[in-house]
Subunit: 224 residues, 2 copies
DNA sequence: TTTTCATTAAGGGTTTCCCCTTCTTTATAT
DNA sequence: ATATAAAGAAGGGGAAACCCTTAATGAAAA
C-alpha cells in the first residue's frame, strides 16, 4: 500500500559525501523515485555545517569517512544546533564498529553503501515517518558483539568454582574487602583469605584487583 | 530483480503456533505468494518435535508463547537434532527481552507478529538464502540496551578528570599497581599515589578496587 | 609583582593484602 | 578401617596500599 505512492515529495534533503559521482547517483535516485528534493550537497562535514547557516533540511544523508570534518563530528554538531534534522548514515563494511557513537549522537538510521534502491527508499521513508532504520548488517555486528559471552561458559566450566568460591567472587566484585566479607559470611578473615587465594590460583591472577577484572571481563559475574 | 519471482517454491515449511487461525493465515500467504510449501503444522513445541521424527523441513516459522513446550525449548531441541533447519521466530511486542536466548540457540530470524506481508516475505527469502533477518523493532530494543552508557557522559563531565587522571584510571583498570604505573609514566610512585588519591576523592570511592569498579560500571574506561 | 593553582615529590604511620605454613574436620576410596 | 584428599580455619611476616602532612617548582591570574 505504501510501495507505489511517492513519499513526502516535499522532503528537503542535503547529501553529504566526498565523492561527487556518488552524490549524483543518490540525487538522481531520490528525484526519479520522488522520494524528496535534494536542496543542497556538501563534499565534507565542514561544507555541510556552513550550508546549515542558510538552510535547514528535513533530512541529511551523510557519509562517515570525509576530509576536514567527518560524519560523526558533523552529525553531533548539526543535531546540537537543529535537533529535529533526521540523519541517515551511509556506512561502509567495517565502519560498523563505531555505530554506538552515531546512535548516541542521535542519528536516525544506518545503512550500508552496498544497499539497493529499495532499501535506501525504505530507510528514507521510515526515517521521514519518525521511525528509525538500521541495516541488517549492522544488527548482525551488534549481535555478534553480544554473543561473545556465550563462549565463556566453557571457561566457566574449566575453572570449576565451587559455591563458596562463586559467592566470594560475587562479593569481591562488589568491592568488599576481606574483613567485610568475613563479617557477612561469619567466618574468620583468614579463612576468607584462603578462599581468595584459591581463586587467585584458579584464575591465574596475581591480586584481588586482577581477579575482579578477570571475572568482569569474562562475565563470570552478572552484577557488580 | 528478486522482487517479482517466486522464492524457492520447493521450500518445505512447518508452522508452529497455538492459534489455528493465525497458522491458517500464514499458510495462505506463503502458498499464494509461492514462497514455499507448508508441509505440516503444530500447535505447540511438543507437537512440532514429534513431527520432526517423520519429516525434516527446510524452515520453521515458530511462535514463542505456546503451551507444554515453548518456542525457545523447541528451537533449542530442534537445532540440536537438525542444525540445518532455518528457524524464524515470531515475536510479540515485549518478547524482545529474550532475544539473546533465541540468537544463542541458533534462530536465524526474528520478526514481529505485526509485520506486514512484504516483511514476512523478505524475512523468509533472506533466511532461505542463508542470511539472517531481524526486525527493526528488535534492533531498536538491542540498541536501547546499549544506549544506557550515553547518560553517563554527564557524570564524566561532573567528575572533571584531567588528562593525567584519565590516563591513571585507564592504567589502574588494566590491573597495574602503583609501582608499575610509575615505571610506565616515569614518575615517582609517590606522585602516582597522589593522583590515585585525587581519583578516590573525586569518585568518592574508598580504595583502588572500588575506583576501578566505579570506572567500569560507569563506562569511564573503554577497555580493561 | 604577588598570589593562586596545578604538578610533582616525599616522609611516616596504619591498614590491608598477599604468601607460606600449620592444624582440624569431613568425605571418599581402596 | 585407614590412607588420602578436600574443605574449613587461622597464625606470622613481608609487601603493597592507604592516609595525612609537607614542600618545591612553574604557570597562570590578580
Amino acid at each position: 500500500m505504501k510501495k507505489d505512492q511517492p513519499l513526502s515529495p516535499n522532503c528537503k534533503i542535503i547529501l553529504v559525501d566526498d565523492h561527487p559521482l556518488y552524490r549524483e547517483g543518490i540525487k538522481l535516485l531520490i528525484e526519479m523515485e520522488h522520494i524528496g528534493e535534494v536542496i543542497a550537497e556538501a563534499g565534507n562535514g565542514k561544507e555541510f555545517l556552513d550550508l546549515l547557516e542558510y538552510q535547514v533540511p528535513d533530512m541529511v544523508i551523510m557519509d562517515i569517512d570525509m576530509p576536514i570534518v567527518d560524519g560523526l563530528q558533523a552529525t553531533q554538531k548539526a543535531l546540537e544546533l537543529h535537533p529535529d534534522i533526521k540523519i541517515l548514515i551511509l556506512s561502509m563494511h567495517g565502519d560498523n564498529k563505531y555505530y554506538t557513537r552515531f546512535i548516541d549522537a542521535g542519528a536516525k538510521g544506518f545503512i550500508l553503501k552496498t544497499a539497493g534502491k529499495e532499501e535506501l527508499e525504505n530507510a528514507i521513508q521510515k526515517i521521514i515517518n519518525g521511525e528509525s532504520y538500521f541495516s541488517q548488517d549492522l544488527l548482525l555486528t551488534i549481535i555478534h558483539d553480544l554473543k561473545v559471552p556465550n563462549q565463556i561458559s566453557k571457561l566457566e566450566l574449566s575453572l570449576d568454582l565451587n559455591d563458596r568460591e562463586k559467592e566470594m567472587l560475587q562479593l569481591l566484585c562488589k568491592g568488599l574487602s576481606i574483613v567485610e566479607i568475613a563479617d557477612i559470611i561469619h567466618l574468620s578473615p583468614k579463612t576468607i583469605e584462603g578462599y581468595r587465594t584459591k581463586l587467585l590460583i584458579k584464575t591465574e591472577t596475581k591480586n584481588t584487583l586482577g581477579l575482579v577484572l578477570f571475572a568482569i571481563k569474562n562475565k563470570l559475574v552478572t552484577e557488580f
